[in-house]
């Protein structure tokens, strides 16, 4: 039976759409774990990245830790934490947050550091406080990179949350791990496809978000100057 037929058969069974083990619940769980972990990771990582980027202090340490963190196998982190702390939601969330932090710190730092020194100099020269410089100049210019850091982090968390089914977490990973346990390929494939779709959806959400919040002046989407723009009345927005 082809992969698509198995997929359709599993999805087509109404029994798989209800109850605490149904597809909607699993999707909700997965999204919930991801949002929660990403939120906590961002609360920690954003200020750290902004501070390091703005002051340039501690950059080496932060980058080194970030690089080292990338080499940590997520399955190892998960199993180790759960064995150390015990089964339950908390150790898994801790693992997800820990793995979600480095991409945000690194990207935020890179973004702030990438702002032209002339621009920052001009901002200070106009009398902005350091906080103003960060909030009104550096952050908006760094925003595309900050968002791409959040996106990497979110994808990392979606992926790790899938694996976390192995250490008894809910979410879509359950279909993969449970299906594997009983050699039910249809169930595994369904879980895998749903996780892949969820990841792609997360990717799209961030692309859309970036499009909305990033200034057109930074993306090249602003219309090219034409001869009469300069003369247009200032009431056009």
């Amino acid at each position: 039976m082809s992969i698509f037929a198995q997929l359709l058969e599993f999805i087509g069974d109404p029994a798989h759409w209800s109850g605490p083990r149904g597809i909607p619940v699993r999707i909700f769980e997965h999204v919930w774990y991801t949002a929660l972990s990403l939120g906590i990771a961002a609360l920690i990582a954003l200020p750290v990245g902004l501070l390091i980027g703005h002051t340039g202090k501690g950059a080496f340490l932060a980058i080194s830790i970030g690089n080292a963190a990338r080499s940590f196998p997520s399955l190892g982190v998960l199993t180790l934490l759960v064995l150390a702390v015990g089964l339950g939601l908390t150790p898994v969330l801790v693992a997800l947050v820990v793995l979600g932090i480095p991409p945000i710190v690194a990207a935020t730092y890179e973004g702030i550091r990438g702002v032209s020194p002339a621009t920052v100099d001009a901002a200070r020269g106009m009398g902005m406080t350091e906080f103003d410089v960060l909030r009104r100049v550096e952050l908006p210019i760094a925003l595309p990179l900050v968002i791409s850091g959040l996106r990497s982090s979110a994808l990392q968390i979606v992926s790790t949350a899938t694996i976390a089914a192995f250490v008894a977490l809910g979410g879509l990973g359950r279909f993969l791990i449970d299906g594997l346990g009983v050699r039910n390929y249809a169930e595994m494939v369904t879980g895998a496809v749903l996780v892949a779709l969820l990841a792609i959806a997360v990717d799209l959400v961030f692309a859309l978000f970036s499009r909305i919040v990033v200034s057109d002046g930074l993306t090249g989407r602003a219309p090219a100057p034409s001869a009469d723009t300069d003369l247009a009345p200032a009431t056009t927005h």
């Binding site: 990338r70 196998p73 899938t162 694996i163 993969l176 895998a192 990717d203």
Partner: protein, 216 residues
């Protein structure tokens, strides 16, 4: 930590380590072989560049465990066949490397490209002898990223029975036994750092000019 367990299992650990290295490195090589021509085409025909980026972004966003499971259904292999891991990681490596390859080729200054043409390089020789060498720092940055990512990703394969050092994680977890997990972590991280250093070393040998500007 139970040191005696390590002593008793040295041979097994060595095998897992070697297999881990194989599962991580072969896809990087294959991925680079894929990314070079694709990246080149995307530079040659700029209209291909945005869709290429989008495709590689989507491919890379798919969680590895999902890809390990979907792949056999698509290409008809057995689910426990190591080839699935190799192909999946090759897809990631290729997807990740097309961008550095394309960006590297695009970084060749126009005046350099122009003078290579005007000097009388044939097209293929210009790409091989001038453009590709200048793109190398970008390609190597990509290679470092991909190799480190692959080494940590291989472990996930343990969930479907093929994971190199990852098998130490599943094994340790199921037996509620920390030692193998720590050993697996240490070896995996060490492998990543060593592989990274080796790539940096190769890069230094191949691109002595890249450091020239800074040393003077």
């Amino acid at each position: 930590m139970r040191w005696d367990w390590i002593q008793n299992n040295l041979e097994n650990i060595g095998e897992l380590l070697a297999f881990h290295l194989y599962l991580a490195v072969v896809p990087v090589v294959l991925g680079l072989a894929l990314a070079l021509p694709i990246g080149f085409l995307a530079v040659r025909w700029p209209r291909l560049y945005p869709p290429m980026l989008a495709t590689s972004g989507v491919l890379f966003s798919i969680p590895s465990l999902a890809l390990f499971i979907i792949l056999p259904g698509i290409i008809g292999t057995q689910i426990l066949d190591p080839i699935n891991i190799v192909i999946a990681l090759t897809i990631y490596a290729g997807a990740l490397l097309v961008r550095p390859v394309a960006d590297g080729l695009r970084s060749v200054p126009d005046h350099v490209r122009q003078s290579a043409t005007a000097i009388g390089y044939e097209r293929w020789r210009q790409v091989l002898k001038v453009e590709l060498p200048i793109a190398l720092p970008f390609v190597f940055a990509g290679l470092r990223f991909v190799t480190v990512a692959n080494i940590s990703m291989v472990s996930v394969g343990a969930l479907i029975g093929i994971g190199g050092l990852g098998e130490l994680f599943t094994d340790g977890f199921q037996r509620n036994f920390v030692t193998p997990i720590v050993v697996g972590m240490v070896l995996s991280v060490a492998l990543a750092l060593i592989a990274d250093s080796v790539i940096v070393l190769i890069q230094r040998v191949l691109t002595p000019w890249a450091r020239a500007g800074r040393s003077s």
